[in-house]
C-alpha cells in the first residue's frame, strides 16, 4: 500500500480513538459507541494502539515519503473521516438516546442526544 494511504489510515484510526476518548471525557454521550464509559475508554485505547502499531511495527518508517504540508492535509482528511464515521455510527448505535434538553446548541447538546437527533430537533425547532 502507498505510504500516503498508510498515513491516512493511521490518522483515521487514531482520530476515531481520540474522538471516543474525548467524548467520554467531555460527557458527550451522543457520540459514544458504547453506553458504558469504561468500555468507551478501552475501545479508544485499542483503536489508538492498533493505529500506531499497524503503521510503525511492520516496517521501518524512518524514510522520506509524506512531506510536511502533505502530512497536514492528510491528517485533516483522516480526522474529518473519523468524525463522519463517529457521527454516523454513534447516531445509529445510540439511537435510543434523547430527546435532550430544549434550547441547547453546539457540541454540549450531544450530552444527551445523538448527532442526527440533535440535527433533526434543531431543524424542527427552526421550522416551527
Amino acid at each position: 500500500m502507498p505510504l500516503t494511504f498508510e498515513y491516512w489510515l493511521l490518522t483515521f484510526l487514531a482520530s476515531l480513538g481520540v474522538i471516543q476518548a474525548a467524548a467520554v471525557e467531555g460527557g458527550l454521550r451522543g457520540l459514544w459507541f458504547f453506553p458504558n464509559p469504561l468500555t468507551g475508554r478501552v475501545c479508544a485505547i485499542l483503536l489508538v494502539l492498533i493505529a500506531f502499531s499497524r503503521f510503525f511495527l511492520p516496517m521501518n518508517r524512518n524514510v522520506r515519503g509524506v512531506e510536511g504540508f502533505q502530512q497536514s492535509y492528510l491528517f485533516l482528511a483522516g480526522a474529518l473521516s473519523a468524525l463522519a464515521v463517529t457521527l454516523a455510527l454513534s447516531s445509529w448505535l445510540r439511537r435510543g438516546l434523547g430527546p435532550g434538553k430544549e434550547g441547547e446548541r453546539g457540541l454540549a447538546a450531544l450530552k444527551d442526544r445523538t448527532y442526527f437527533r440533535a440535527l433533526w430537533e434543531g431543524r424542527q425547532k427552526d421550522g416551527g
Binding site: 524512518n62 480526522a79 453546539g106 450530552k111
Partner: protein, 189 residues
C-alpha cells in the same frame, strides 16, 4: 556557528553508544510519530471541552499557524539554504538523508506550533506537549540531521507563529466568532 557545530558533535557523539537510547530517539525523531501525536492532542481538546470557546479558539489558532508557518518556512528556504550537518561534518547519521535546508528545522517548527496551541488551550496538556516537542527537537540533533541552531530557530518560529495567530484572532472579528457559531449550529463546536 562554531559553538553550534561543537554542540552538535557533542550531542551526536552519544549516538551509537547506548543501543536503547538510540532506539528511543530514532523513534522520536521519526517524521510521523510526534506530529501525529500532537495533532491528536489538539483534536482531543476540541471534543473534551465542549462549550469552552477559548479552548476551541486555541485549536483554530493552531490550525491557522500550521498553514502560515509552513508558508513562512518555504519562503525562508527560498532565501537561505544551509547544508545538512552530515554533508559537512563526520556525524553518525541514524536517519535517512534529507536534502532540504537544514535551517530552520521544519519538523521542530510544526511540533512547537502544535504544542503552543495546546498550551494556549489547556496549560497542563500544554506543558506535556511542549516537553514532547522539545524532545523531538533534541532527537533531530542526536540523529544527525540538524544543528542545534536549526532546532532553536524552528522552535522560535513555531512558538511565535502560534502565539501570534492566537493574539491576532480578536482583531479578525467577527470571522472567528462566525466560524465558532457556524460550528455550534452544526453541533460541532
Amino acid at each position: 556557528m562554531g559553538a553550534d557545530r561543537a554542540l552538535l558533535l557533542y550531542i551526536n557523539g552519544w549516538a551509537g553508544q547506548i543501543g536503547p537510547l538510540d532506539w528511543v530517539l530514532k523513534a522520536v525523531a521519526n517524521d510521523y510519530l510526534v506530529p501525529v501525536v500532537l495533532s491528536l492532542f489538539l483534536l482531543w481538546l476540541w471534543f473534551a471541552r465542549p462549550g469552552k470557546e477559548g479552548t476551541q479558539l486555541a485549536v483554530l489558532a493552531g490550525a491557522g499557524a500550521l498553514g502560515l508557518g509552513n508558508g513562512l518556512i518555504k519562503l525562508m528556504n527560498l532565501i537561505y539554504y544551509r547544508p545538512r550537518p552530515f554533508t559537512e561534518l563526520p556525524v553518525r547519521l541514524l536517519l535517512y538523508r534529507p536534502h532540504d535546508s537544514s535551517f530552520p528545522s521544519n519538523g521542530t517548527a510544526v511540533a512547537f506550533m502544535l504544542a503552543t496551541a495546546i498550551y494556549l488551550g489547556n496549560r497542563k496538556a500544554g506543558v506535556v506537549a511542549l516537553a514532547i516537542a522539545s524532545l523531538y527537537g533534541f532527537s533531530r540533533v542526536y540523529v544527525g540531521i540538524h544543528y542545534p541552531l536549526d532546532v532553536l530557530g524552528g522552535a522560535a518560529i513555531g512558538i511565535l507563529t502560534s502565539y501570534g495567530v492566537y493574539r491576532l484572532l480578536p482583531r479578525l472579528e467577527p470571522l472567528p466568532s462566525r466560524l465558532v457559531r457556524l460550528g455550534r449550529s452544526l453541533y460541532l463546536a
